[in-house]
Symmetry: C2
Subunit: 346 residues, 2 copies
DNA sequence: GTTAGCACTCTTCGAATGAGAGTGCTAAAT
DNA sequence: ATTTAGCACTCTCATTCGAAGAGTGCTAAC
C-alpha cells in the first residue's frame, strides 16, 4: 500500500474528516462535512470522495451506515503531509518554562517535573526516558563511603544533571582512598563518556605494564560497577488522563492500557527506538509493535545536551489526538529541556 | 450508634454474610447462607436475623428485593471483633522476604520494591510513605560540592538507608571546607535527629559566644537547608489492580480513584495519621475523610527502625477486600521492613 | 462533474415483558 | 417462644420489539 497521489479535493476532505473526528470523537458523515467545511459541495459529492478515500485505505466505517473514521494510514498521511504545525500560545510556552525549572539539578526531579507539565498541558499521559549513565559525559565523579563495601557514586553530568547510584564492591575501600580515586578519575574524565574513561584506564594499564597499581585497579572496578546493570528508566505522569477519553469508556481496554503503563519495559523499548532515530516521531496505533498501544498514539522527541542525545520525552494519547498541537507541545518541550541541559552553567 | 451486644447467632450470620460477599461480590441472600453456612437453619430464620442486623446498621440492601451487603459499620465490627488473623503461607512469606532485599540501601529503591511486592501479592494497590529526613537519626552526613552554590547532601541513616538531597546555598563553599563541616557535624550527630543537631549547634554557639565561628555558622546553614521544605513522599504501586475490581467497572468511579492516586497530597495526609497512631490500622470507606476513598479501604501499618517510627506502608483496595488476609500481609511486611531497617549492619 | 432522491442498513433508545431472586409477613409447626 | 413453610410482593436484569435517526450507495436527472 504505497502513497497515492491525492487530488486537492481529496486532501481537503480527508483533512476535514480528521479534524472533525478529532474534535467530536464520533464518526463523521458526508452531511456534516458539507455543512461545516465545503458548503459549496453537496453531501452526495462528498460521499463519492469519501468512498474513494476509503478504498485507498485512509478512512473506514465502523459499520455500514455510520460516518467515516480515519485509519492509522489516514492519520499517518495527515501527520506527514496535511498537517501544519501551529505555534504554542505565549501563555503555554511560558507555562512550560515555569514548570520545568529544577531547583536542584537532580535528574529525578527534572524528569518528574517534565512529566507533570507535559501531562497537564496535553491532558494525556506523559512519558520521559531518563538519561542513561552510559550516554552522558561527566564533569565530575565522587564517591561517598556508606558502610562496609557499599559506596554511593555521585555523578555530575556536563549537562549539570546530578545522578546517584549505590554500588557494592568486593572489598572495603575507605574514604581517603576513595577520594584519591575520584581525584584521579576526575582528571581523566573531561568531556568523555564513562565507557571511554574505562577504556582509557585499561589502555594505560596495559601501556605502563602497571597491573599492580592499586589505585588504577580500583578506579577500574569502581567505574565498572557504576556502569553495571543499567536499564532505561521511564517516568510516567498523568496516566489517569487517558481514562477520561470516551473511547476508553470500555473497561477492558482501560485495564489493558494501565497494564501497559505499569509494564514499563516495553515502553522503554519503544522509546529507545525514538532515541536512536534522533528526531521527533509520531507513532500511530498499530505502527507500534506493542500490542497495548494498538489504540494509542505516541508523540515523542529526543532531548539533548549540546550534541549529545540524552533521552526522550513525549506524550501518549488516543489515536484521536490533536496531532498538530501535540507535536508543537512535545517539540517545544524537548527544545526547552535541551536548552536547559546545554547551558550547563546554571 | 454505639456498639451493640450481638448474640452468637447474629455474629455467625454477620460473619457469613461478609465472607460470602467478599468472595462473590454480590449481595447475599438468606437462602445461600442457609445452604452454605447454616444448613440447620432455614432461610426464613436467617432472614429474621438479617433484618435485625440491618436495623442495627451492620447490613443494608441495595434495593428492596436484593440480598444484603455489609455496611461500613458492619465491616468495622467484623474487623474489630469477628475476624481472626490467619498466618501467611510459608510460600508467601518467603516471597516477600525475597522481594524486599534492597541491593543498594537507597531509600527510593527500597520503597519501590516494597510497593511492588505488596501490590503483587495483594492484587490491589500498594502505598508506602517514605521516611522523612526530620524523623530519622543519622549515622553520617556528607556534602558533595556540585556547582557554584549547589551542594548534594548525602545522609546515611542509622537504619542504613541512604537519602540524598540537593540544596542551594547563598554562598559558595568549596569542597575542603565542606569536608571540614561534615567532619564536625558527624561528631555531633551520633544517634539524634537532625533537628536536634541543629539545636545543639545553636546552644553551643550561644554558650561559647562564638557567633563568628565561620565553621559553625555554615554547619548551621547547611543543616537548616537540608531540613527545609520537606514534604511526605508517597510511593504507589499497582494502582491498575484496582481497575480489575468489578465494583469499579463504572468508569466514573474509576476516574475518581485514579485521580485520587495522582493527587498524592491527600494520601500523605491520611498516611501521616496512621504514622502518628503507631499501630496497624484499617480504615473503611467513609471512615476516611477523603472523598475519593468512600468506596475504598486502606490497611496500613507503620514501619520502624529500632523504636523510631519511620513511615507507613499499606494497601488500598475496595471495601470488599479480604481483610483477614490483607491485615496479615501488611503486618508481616511492616515487621519485615522494620527488621531490615533495624539490623543496621547490613 | 454534480446533485437530488430514494431504498436500504445499521445503531440507539425506550417501552414492554417475563423470569428470577429475595424479601416481609402471616400462620402453622415444633 | 422459636422456627419454619408458604405466599404475595418488589425490584432488577435480560430480552424483545419497534420506531427514530443517521448515513450510505446507487441511479437518474441536471
Amino acid at each position: 500500500m504505497h502513497t497515492h497521489e491525492l487530488s486537492l479535493r481529496q486532501r481537503q476532505i480527508l483533512k476535514a474528516v480528521i479534524h472533525d473526528y478529532i474534535t467530536s470523537g464520533e464518526p463523521v458523515g458526508s452531511r456534516s462535512i458539507s455543512r461545516r467545511h465545503h458548503s459549496s459541495l453537496s453531501a452526495a459529492t462528498i460521499r463519492n470522495v469519501m468512498a474513494d478515500l476509503e478504498e485507498i485505505g485512509y478512512l473506514s466505517q465502523p459499520h455500514t451506515s455510520a460516518g467515516r473514521v480515519p485509519t492509522d494510514l489516514g492519520y499517518r498521511f495527515y501527520v506527514d503531509t496535511l498537517m501544519h504545525r501551529p505555534r504554542l500560545s505565549k501563555v503555554e510556552e511560558s507555562r512550560i518554562e515555569q514548570g520545568i525549572r529544577p531547583s536542584s539539578g537532580q535528574a529525578e526531579e527534572l524528569m518528574q517535573e517534565t512529566t507533570r507539565i507535559l501531562s497537564h498541558l496535553s491532558r494525556y499521559a506523559a512519558v520521559v526516558l531518563a538519561p542513561k549513565l552510559t550516554q552522558s559525559t561527566w564533569r565530575r565523579i565522587d564517591f561517598v563511603h556508606l558502610h562496609r563495601e557499599r559506596i554511593l557514586v555521585v555523578l555530575v553530568a556536563d549537562s549539570g544533571l546530578v545522578q546517584q547510584k549505590v554500588i557494592v564492591l568486593d572489598e572495603v575501600i575507605d574514604q581517603p582512598e576513595l577520594d584519591r580515586i575520584s581525584r584521579y578519575l576526575n582528571t581523566v574524565l573531561a568531556g568523555v563518556s564513562l565507557q571511554e574513561v574505562r577504556n582509557r584506564i585499561v589502555a594505560r594499564m596495559a601501556e605502563e605494564r602497571d597491573e599492580f597499581n592499586e589505585l588504577m585497579r580500583r578506579a577500574l572496578e569502581l567505574s565498572d560497577k557504576t556502569l553495571e546493570g543499567e536499564e532505561g528508566q521511564v517516568y510516567i505522569g498523568g496516566a489517569a488522563n487517558i481514562a477520561h477519553q470516551p473511547e476508553f469508556a470500555d473497561v477492558k481496554k482501560m485495564k489493558e492500557i494501565f497494564g501497559a503503563f505499569e509494564e514499563k519495559s516495553k515502553l522503554v523499548k519503544i522509546l529507545d527506538e525514538c532515541l536512536a532515530q534522533g528526531g521527533l516521531r509520531v507513532i500511530i496505533g498499530r505502527e507500534s509493535e506493542i500490542r497495548e498501544m494498538r489504540e494509542l498514539s505516541l508523540i515523542a522527541s529526543p532531548y539533548k545536551s549540546g550534541d549529545h542525545v540524552l533521552g526522550v520525552l513525549g506524550i501518549v494519547g488516543p489515536k484521536r489526538i490533536a496531532y498538530d498541537r501535540m507535536v508543537a507541545l512535545v517539540d517545544f518541550t524537548a527544545r526547552l529541556l535541551s536548552n536547559i541541559l546545554t547551558e550547563a552553567d546554571a
